[in-house]
Every structure is written in structure tokens, then in C-alpha cells.
């Protein structure tokens, strides 16, 4: 275990250079030669190396923050949050990128907790959805499901009714619109085969139906269950029923899952 200890100790000394002597002294599992080597690095040199090693890690996290979000966050604030994340999650990696970025963005969303930062949290959820979009899956057997599920080219988002306007403003580099932080609106976020992202505002009943689809029930069964728990939707039953065909035709609903 000496090699692991050596590596743990060296990285820990780089993460906390001001405590390096203490760290070295408290590590038992080192050979005398390793101990001499680690002790031989001068405090000044350790500080310098530490700065670049920490900077590399922080900037790796900063780099994967989607440009939309980065454009709204002051660089020093984002860096401070990345530093915080790097220290709290010393084993967090960026492989596989989409999955690991989601965890890091979850952390950001939790850190951006002020009331007037709702637009940033909405944007993070939007970006996390986008990172899941995929048009490519290694061929694998497909298992039939009892009912529909959302395809991996789309996802559900709950955000402010002003979210579409916010996105427009960011894309067109205009000043941000007034943002309703309290009302929530359901959207279907999708990516077409040309890789363009679209946003479809959903009737709240439809949002619930889509949210309930898990492959275990048919559309009609899901719809019945949702109408039962929300009787005020009964009047919309037939309209909601018709959505199924449209969603299937767009490729957003499917009745199977890939089993690798």
C-alpha cells in the first residue's frame, strides 16, 4: 500500500500546502525514501506546484459549465464554487463527462440558492437535460415495455413561464427579461436530428402524464390515473389522449428500452 499512500500524501500536500509538514508527519505508511523525497520539496516550491495543480482541477470544472450558464455567472464566483466543489468532492472526476457534469451542476444549483437566482437554477436543470440527449446507442437487444417512456432525445423541465424568453435573451446576447421566480411551467425540451434544441410549453396535465410514463402502463392507463388524482383534468381527457399519437410521431415516446 506504500504507492497508494505516497500518492495520497503527495496530492494531499498539494491540496493543503500550508499543512504539508503535518500531513507528512501523520502518514505512517511510507518508505523512508518516500518520506525523504516528500520532505525535500521546499515550502515555496510546494506552494507553486499546488497553485497550478489546484488551478488545473478548478478550471477543468469551470470548462465543462455550459456556456449559457457561464455567461451569466461572474468568473470569480464560478471559480470559487468550483474550488469548493473540488475540495468537498476530492474524488469527483469528469469521466464519463455527461454523468459527472450532472453531479457538479447539481452542486452549483444547490449553491445558487438565493431567491433571485431561480433563473440560474432553471438554466442548470435545462442544461442537465440537454446533456442527456443522445442519438447514438451501441446496438443492444431492445426489450418491449408495457407502455411508453420518453426517448433519450427529449426530457421534461419545470421552469418559470419566462424561461423561453430568458433563453432567447441569452442566445441573442440581450439583456435579461423580467423573470417570474414563483410560477412553474412544464416544458418538453427536445433535440431534433439536426441537433437544434427546442422547448415546447406543456399543459400542466400533459406534463403530469409524461412524468408518470414509466413503461409499465399504457398512455390511457396513465391518463386515467392522472385524471383520478386531479379530477379537474377530466374535461381535458380527450385532448390529452390525442397527444400520444403526436408525441410518438415526433419520436419522443417509445415502447422499449435498450438492455446492454
Amino acid at each position: 500500500m506504500s504507492l497508494s499512500s505516497y500518492q495520497n500524501t503527495w496530492i494531499e500536500m498539494l491540496m493543503y500546502p500550508e499543512r504539508s509538514a503535518e500531513i507528512l508527519a501523520s502518514t505512517a505508511d511510507l518508505t523512508p525514501a518516500e518520506r525523504i523525497l516528500l520532505a525535500a520539496v521546499s515550502p515555496e516550491r510546494l506552494q507553486t506546484i499546488s497553485k497550478t495543480v489546484i488551478y488545473s482541477r478548478i478550471s477543468a470544472f469551470v470548462r465543462v459549465v455550459p456556456a449559457n450558464l457561464r455567461s451569466l455567472l461572474p468568473a470569480d464566483r464560478l471559480e470559487a464554487m468550483a474550488r469548493d466543489y473540488a475540495y468537498r468532492e476530492p474524488l469527483a472526476s469528469l469521466y464519463p463527462l455527461a454523468q459527472q457534469t450532472r453531479q457538479w451542476l447539481d452542486f452549483l444549483a444547490a449553491a445558487l440558492s438565493a431567491e433571485n437566482e431561480q433563473h440560474l437554477r432553471d438554466l442548470i436543470r435545462f442544461e442537465q437535460l440537454k446533456s442527456r440527449f443522445s442519438h447514438y446507442e451501441k446496438p443492444a437487444p431492445r426489450q418491449k415495455l408495457r407502455g411508453p417512456v420518453l426517448s433519450p432525445a427529449c426530457g421534461l423541465l419545470l421552469a418559470s413561464p419566462d424561461f423561453a424568453a430568458l433563453l432567447q435573451a441569452i442566445w441573442q446576447e440581450q439583456s435579461l427579461p423580467a423573470y417570474d421566480n414563483n410560477t412553474r411551467q412544464g416544458y418538453l425540451v427536445f433535440e431534433n436530428p439536426e441537433r437544434e434544441v427546442g422547448l415546447l410549453p406543456l399543459h400542466w396535465g400533459l406534463y403530469h402524464v409524461l412524468q408518470t410514463c414509466n413503461g409499465q402502463q399504457s398512455w390511457a392507463e396513465v391518463l386515467d390515473a392522472v385524471c383520478k388524482s386531479h379530477p379537474e383534468l377530466t374535461a381535458d381527457h380527450s385532448t390529452l389522449c390525442q397527444w400520444e399519437a403526436y408525441l410518438r410521431q415526433r419520436g419522443w415516446l417509445r415502447d422499449w428500452q435498450s438492455v446492454a
Binding site: 504507492l3 497550478t52 495543480v53 476530492p90 443522445s134 447514438y136
Partner: protein
């Protein structure tokens, strides 16, 4: 073998593209060319074969870039180990059983290692099997040829099966209208050939290149100095980026260079990571791939830095075991790069050179010598770069990296955003005179404001490389 509930469809074929290695694709029995079109549009050069003159003429008119061959499938000679993928969908009903089995043998032989077979044919339960749909060599009607998944062990015994389906499929076309077929289908991959002992002097000479960076894409394409491109393996794990690599590969030799192999970490990289890299290496169809002799993480911490490994028995055993797994997953020559050192990891730097030599010789790896790192390490650790170089096995040095760095608080960092140092140029000349490198590339990772200046650096590298003995 896990059976699919659903048959092959267009979406499945389209989604499969990133896992088809680089190379030509054959569509046997292309019919109206829908599959040929899909694969060609993705970026593969496709040959469409069919005996239906009219259908083929229409396919060719719509897609002049497709190679179209009009003949009986039995007349088409499938060159051995040539095809990256062969698609053969429902042509077997028109072949007698003996010809079906001969075809399966030809398909197996025609794929290159790692190549993918996408196949569908009538199962014995298909209603068509009751008829004489096939034609023998003399044009006489013969019983419909049949296939089943039971044939897989006979013709494709050790091929990984990605997808297998056997069962009824609804169909609807004239003259029958709606009707049912019973199909056997599979998507399987020809096994890669394990890597034998590498003849390092037989590797191709790639000349001068640079790391591909999105910010420099246009300038790179326009530059005559660039003879090959290095791509960052770890920027290309998403299959969504595969088409970009495939397009670059049409024009350049690509060499993947990674930073996350971490051969010095006990346990090393995950199997999933190695499989991802294998896909990227297959896409680049590169003569070698590379990463660093370092560790990026320990059991408790992960960095995004390449930390040098202390020489020693445990390091050696760890690296050799990790490199063995890498080689099993990625059967192409691996080059290890010397990382930048900012603090000593052994009392004598020459011990590191000896360690490097021992590793590349024991693991049958090559060396990607970063000349700028060597110069920087010399500066930072006070070693003599020429003596260090002389201690390395010159015959294993396959590729060189050049870059500029920055001095921060007395330490020289490999920042890759400055012109190459004068001392590094001198060391480069020495290295070129005393080794037989196959490729030299510039690394440039920031300060893209004056692209012409960056490409001039590549041009200068090319001149030096030509002057000091690179034979192309």
C-alpha cells in the same frame, strides 16, 4: 445470448454508426439504397451492390458519391479483411441454402478485425420458406434459403454478439399488402486480433502535425505544414462527436492522445474507460495511441494533472499490470509520454530515465518524448537533458511533442501557449539526430489570437524535421 424483442430498424442502424470502425462499408442487396444512404450520410464510403438495375440507377442518380455495383451477389467478390461493416438485409431468401452458407463464410472473411456484420434473413418459420423463392446458378427455381441464430456458433464462433433477434415481423408492401415474416437477425463484431510483439521500426512516418483544437479548425485545414493531427482522446468520449472525427479522418492520419489512463494508479482506469478509448482508437484507425507515464488520481484524490511516478518495484508492477489491461482492450501500439516534473520523485533523475526504459521495454510500449517537458524538467530539477535522453532507448522513441511554457515563480510550466524555447529547439535537433522518430507535433492550448503565428511554428518544426533526417 440475450434476444431482442424487437427487430433491426433504421433508428437502430443509425445509432450504431459510432461503433463501426473506420473503413469502407458494403451494402449487399442494397435495393432502393435507404441503408447505403444513411451510412454514406454519416461519413462512411459505401459500396451498394444489387442486381436490380432500375433500383440501382435511381440510387446512383440520387447519391452520385455512392459506389454502385450491379451484379448477382454471388458474383460480387468480397475482398478478405477489407470491410469495416457489411450490411446484408434479407437477401438470403433469393439464394439456395448452399449459397447462403457460402455467403456467410465470405461475410466472415470479408470484414476486417473489429468490423461489424449487420445481417437479416428468413427463418425456417417464414411463410416464404414454403416456396421456391431462390434461383440456383442456372437460373432454376430453388427452395428459399434460410438462416437461424443457431448458425452463429458455426460461422462466427467467437464473435461478440451485440444484437440478436429471431421472431415475427409485420410487413406491408405490394403485391401482398400486410403480411408477416419470421426473421433471424444479428449484429456481431469480428474479434480484434491481439497485439503481437511490436516491430517499432516498422511504424509509419507521419511527418509533422499538431494537436487539433476547435479554435484552429479552419487554419489547420488550410495549412500545408500539417501532415497528421493529434486529437485529445478525452475530449471525444461522447459518441455524439464521432462524426467530427470521421470527417477529420478522411483527410488526415489521426493519433489519439489521452490524459486519463493513469497507469501509475493502483487499479488504473476502469474497463468502461478503456472500451471508450478503444472505440476512439478504432475510429482514428491510428498507427498508435498515447498517454502519459504518470498518475492522475490516488485512492483518495483525483487531480486533473499528470503527476510523475516515483521509480520503484511497486510502481513498476502497477504500471505493467495496468498496461497489460490497456493492451488487451486496445490492440494498437501504445506510446507513453514523459510528463512535466516540478519536484523530484527520485534522488537521481537518471533513475527515472532507467525506470522509463524498463517500463517501455517490459510492456512493449513506445515513447512519446515531450522535448519541451524534458527541457522544462531539466530546468526545474537541474538535470542534464542530453544525458537523460541518452539513457532512453532511442529505438522506442516514435513521436515528439514540442510546446512553449511559462516561468512562474522560478518554475517552468508546460503551459502550451507560447512559442517553443530556443533551448528546446536545440534539444530537438539533438533528439532528431540521435533517433528515428516517426512524427513530430506541436501542442498549443491557449492564446489562439494569432493562428498564423501558431501554424508558422508547425512550419518551422517541419523544416527542422526535414533537415535532421526524417525520411518520408
Amino acid at each position: 445470448m440475450l434476444l431482442s424483442d424487437l427487430p433491426i430498424d433504421r433508428a437502430l442502424l443509425s445509432a450504431a454508426c459510432p461503433w463501426i470502425p473506420t473503413g469502407p462499408v458494403l451494402d449487399l442487396g442494397a435495393g432502393h439504397g435507404q441503408i447505403s444512404e444513411l451510412l454514406q450520410a454519416y461519413g462512411f464510403p459505401v459500396t451498394a451492390v444489387d442486381e436490380d438495375t432500375r433500383a440501382l440507377a435511381a440510387v446512383q442518380a440520387a447519391h452520385p458519391e455512392l459506389q454502385v455495383v450491379e451484379c448477382d451477389l454471388r458474383q460480387f467478390e468480397i475482398a478478405p479483411e477489407h470491410w469495416a461493416a457489411i450490411v446484408c438485409l434479407n437477401v438470403t431468401p433469393f439464394l439456395p441454402q448452399a449459397d447462403v452458407e457460402a455467403l456467410l463464410m465470405h461475410l466472415a472473411a470479408g470484414l476486417k478485425p473489429g468490423g461489424v456484420l449487420i445481417f437479416s434473413g428468413f427463418h425456417a418459420d417464414d411463410p416464404g420458406c414454403a416456396y421456391l423463392m431462390a434461383e440456383d446458378a442456372h437460373g432454376q427455381p430453388a427452395p428459399t434459403g434460410q438462416v437461424s441464430l443457431a448458425l452463429l456458433p458455426r460461422f462466427f464462433s467467437d464473435w461478440p454478439v451485440w444484437f440478436a433477434f429471431e421472431g415475427p415481423v409485420e410487413d406491408d408492401h405490394p403485391p401482398q399488402g400486410p403480411h408477416r415474416h419470421v426473421l433471424s437477425q444479428w449484429i456481431i463484431q469480428k474479434p480484434e486480433v491481439p497485439l503481437a510483439t511490436i516491430n517499432w521500426s516498422a511504424l509509419p512516418r507521419l511527418g509533422t502535425g499538431m494537436g487539433w483544437r476547435a479554435a484552429l479548425h479552419e487554419e489547420i485545414l488550410a495549412s500545408e505544414a500539417i501532415e497528421f493531427l493529434e486529437i485529445m482522446t478525452d475530449d471525444h468520449h461522447s459518441p455524439e462527436l464521432d462524426q467530427r472525427l470521421l470527417a477529420l479522418r478522411q483527410r488526415y492520419t489521426l493519433v489519439p492522445h489521452g490524459v486519463e489512463l493513469s497507469p501509475g494508479t493502483p487499479g488504473g482506469a476502469s474497463e468502461a474507460y478503456l472500451k471508450d478509448v478503444a472505440r476512439i482508437v478504432a475510429r482514428c484507425d491510428s498507427p498508435w495511441w498515447s498517454d502519459h507515464l504518470c498518475y492522475t488520481h490516488s485512492p483518495r484524490y483525483r487531480t486533473h494533472s499528470l503527476n510523475p511516478l516515483p521509480p520503484g518495484e511497486e510502481s513498476l508492477a502497477t504500471v505493467l499490470s495496468n498496461l497489460k489491461r490497456a493492451r488487451q482492450n486496445i490492440p494498437r501500439p501504445l506510446l507513453l509520454e514523459n510528463p512535466a516534473y516540478y519536484a523530484a520523485v527520485s534522488p537521481d533523475p537518471l533513475q527515472e530515465a532507467a525506470f522509463f526504459k524498463q517500463i517501455v521495454e517490459s510492456a512493449d510500449c513506445g515513447i512519446l518524448l515531450d522535448v519541451a517537458n524534458l527541457m522544462g524538467n531539466a530546468y526545474n530539477l537541474g538535470l542534464d537533458p542530453y544525458t537523460y535522453f541518452d539513457a532512453l532507448p532511442a529505438e522506442r522513441i516514435v513521436q515528439l511533442h514540442l510546446a512553449g511554457g511559462r516561468l512562474l515563480e522560478e518554475v517552468l510550466f508546460d503551459t502550451h501557449d507560447r512559442p517553443i524555447w530556443q533551448e528546446t529547439w536545440e534539444l530537438l535537433r539533438y533528439v532528431l539526430q540521435h533517433s528515428d522518430v516517426r512524427a513530430v507535433s506541436l501542442e498549443w492550448d491557449d492564446n489562439y489570437e494569432v493562428p498564423a503565428r501558431i501554424l508558422e511554428e508547425v512550419q518551422a518544426l517541419r523544416r527542422v524535421q526535414r533537415q535532421f533526417g526524417l525520411r518520408l
